[in-house]
């Protein structure tokens, strides 16, 4: 009888880890608080760099973990440390004794309404990257349906690189997402003028610069180097954005029909509570603390507790998958070492 492994979080990290552990002969328990697997990715439309459909990625992974014990709409209510493992209690009444726990609890999007000067939840035509991605899937949002969208703006770094917003870190994937979404918006509204308001363009990944080139050459997206300072609304319901075009050194005011806020990635607050049940703290950037930030991101200071995915910080999907595989192997090696 193989040891029990509890994976907390049914997103990409949890699913891929479960997949690898199944291949290694384990039957991991995967617990997910929402009613579906796939985490945030399940809500997305297309994934960079190849514009692969997010639904396919989630569906393929879900296929591969059919044999795992999956508890949906279930949370962890309590974890007790035992002499040789953990006693985990779930909200569905199930009680499990396990030797290893994987915290694959993922991230939360920065609550854009906290950035009051951007008017999310106050001015009608302001939405977030998440709202827009949902619209790509559902094509239902009163900010876009039936509207004459001629000018669209993307605000980079909302809740990122912002000490006042409580998150000085960069959220890594918003720049590429903004460019991706800007090009997708252009496909739906080919005559629209699309602007990206950025401080720096962080396009570090595989084929990301191609996106940037394509956005400039083919989609005609305008890139303005200046952080948006204030958003207001005119009498026609359009949003007015104030920024500085820092490359020409002049303040600029632009009227738009739609404004998309690139909300950043912050640590899932519920995860922090769950992690503390196994004495895993947060690092100075608010994410769950790894044993070592260079050579050992997937281990924690607590025996038998592992990390994978955006629980430790912003990541792309391929990076999450790679970490999940590493965590699965590390869990396997750990369990072997106990024998």
């Amino acid at each position: 009888m193989k040891d029990n492994i509890v994976i907390i979080g049914g997103g990409i990290a949890g699913m891929e880890a479960a997949h690898q552990l199944l291949l290694l002969g384990y039957k991991p328990i995967l617990v997910e608080k929402s009613d579906h697997l796939g985490g945030h990715v399940a809500d997305w439309h297309k994934l960079f760099p190849d514009m692969s459909p997010a639904k396919d990625a989630v569906r393929d992974l879900a296929e591969k973990i059919k044999e795992a014990n999956i508890f949906l709409e279930t949370e962890v209510s309590f974890i007790n440390r035992l002499k040789n493992g953990y006693n985990v209690m779930f909200t569905n009444g199930v009680n499990v004794i396990c030797k290893a726990i994987l915290l694959a609890t993922g991230f939360e999007l920065f609550e854009a309404s906290k950035k009051e000067e951007y008017g999310y939840g106050i001015y009608n035509q302001v939405m977030t990257n998440s709202d827009l991605e949902r619209w790509f899937n559902t094509r239902k949002d009163k900010r876009l349906d039936g509207k004459d969208i001629r000018k669209v703006g993307f605000v980079h770094c909302v809740g990122s690189r912002d000490i006042k917003a409580g998150n000085p870190q960069c959220s890594k994937v918003c720049c590429i997402t903004a460019i991706k979404q800007a090009m997708e918006v252009k496909e739906f509204f080919p005559d629209a003028e699309v602007y990206c308001f950025y401080m720096d363009l962080r396009l570090f990944g595989k084929k990301y610069e191609d996106f940037y080139i394509k956005a400039q050459m083919e989609s005609g997206v305008h890139f303005i180097r200046g952080r948006v300072s204030e958003v207001s609304e005119n009498i026609n319901g359009q949003v007015i954005v104030k920024t500085e075009d820092t490359l020409s050194g002049k303040p600029a005011k632009i009227t738009l029909d739609l404004l998309v806020l690139m909300s950043g990635i912050v640590c899932n607050q519920q995860a922090v509570k769950t992690a503390s049940m196994v004495q895993v703290q947060t690092d100075s950037d608010g994410f769950l603390k790894s044993k070592d930030n260079i050579l050992n991101i997937i281990e924690t200071g607590s025996k038998g507790v592992f990390l994978a995915g955006t629980a430790t910080g912003p990541k792309t999907v391929p990076e999450t998958v790679a970490e999940a595989r590493a965590a699965a192997l590390a869990i396997h090696n750990y369990l072997v070492s106990l024998q």
């Binding site: 300072s229 104030k242 820092t246």
Partner: protein, 233 residues
């Protein structure tokens, strides 16, 4: 680090105002002065951050640092918790201390400002007072206020002021012992020294420009050269 930069670091407004700037432009975006004047708070903070004394000296002698209206809108928005408006106050303070303020047209205005405001504080206990508010210096205050100034006792009296009277109330006469305390504060804290310094540098500049001090006061108060505004050719 340069001498001027080190001096700036001693100013508490500089300590509060400059942490680290990433040149995002949020301050300039919202700055009322940047819209109308040839002014960019981001560039100023970036220059100071470079700690180059020659560049800082040039700033202190230029019109640029005098365009800010100290509204502090920049403080609200900066993602790195800087305050360009506070940095400006520190730069202005240093420019005055070093006597560089007389090198620029806007800087020279410190003379009529310093005289008028401190005269009011030390003589009337308030920075602004109808007794010294001349309509000819403020035609924008309008015909109604001209009437108010011509009928001060009647208008202020009717509105319940205790105009230059004893005891508490609007526009009361501040007892001399309180004005003396203010003067003592100026003496102890370098305020009087500042007034004398401004006087000294301004007198020297007036002489250099071939004006009497009265002519210089009126000139710096009234004169504006072309080239300050964005919308000029």
């Amino acid at each position: 680090m340069g001498r001027l930069y080190d001096e700036l670091c001693k100013d508490y407004r500089f300590k509060e105002g400059l942490k680290t700037c990433i040149n995002c432009g949020t301050c300039t975006a919202i700055c009322p002065a940047a819209e109308f004047y040839r002014y960019d708070p981001r560039k100023i903070v970036d220059t100071v951050q470079r700690k180059d004394d020659a560049e800082i000296e040039a700033l202190l002698k230029s019109d640029t640092i005098w365009y800010c209206g100290e509204c502090m809108s920049c403080v609200t928005r900066c993602p790195r918790k800087n305050g360009p408006g506070l940095v400006i106050m520190a730069l202005r303070n240093l420019s005055i201390k070093m006597g560089y303020f007389t090198e620029s047209e806007k800087g020279r205005q410190i003379y009529p400002l310093t005289k008028a405001l401190n005269g009011n504080v030390l003589n009337y206990g308030y920075c602004v007072h109808p007794a010294t508010f001349a309509y000819s210096d403020h035609p924008e205050s309008g015909p109604v206020f001209e009437w108010v100034l011509n009928n001060k006792e009647d208008v202020y009296g009717r509105l319940g002021a205790n105009y230059q009277g004893k005891g508490p109330g609007v526009l009361r006469h501040i007892p001399q012992e309180d004005l003396d305390e203010l003067k003592a504060i100026y003496d102890v804290t370098g305020g009087t020294e500042r007034l004398e310094l401004v006087e000294k540098y301004s007198k020297a500049k007036a002489e250099e420009m071939g004006m009497s001090i009265e002519e210089y006061t009126a000139y710096t108060f009234n004169h504006i050269s072309p080239g300050h505004f964005n919308n000029e050719q």
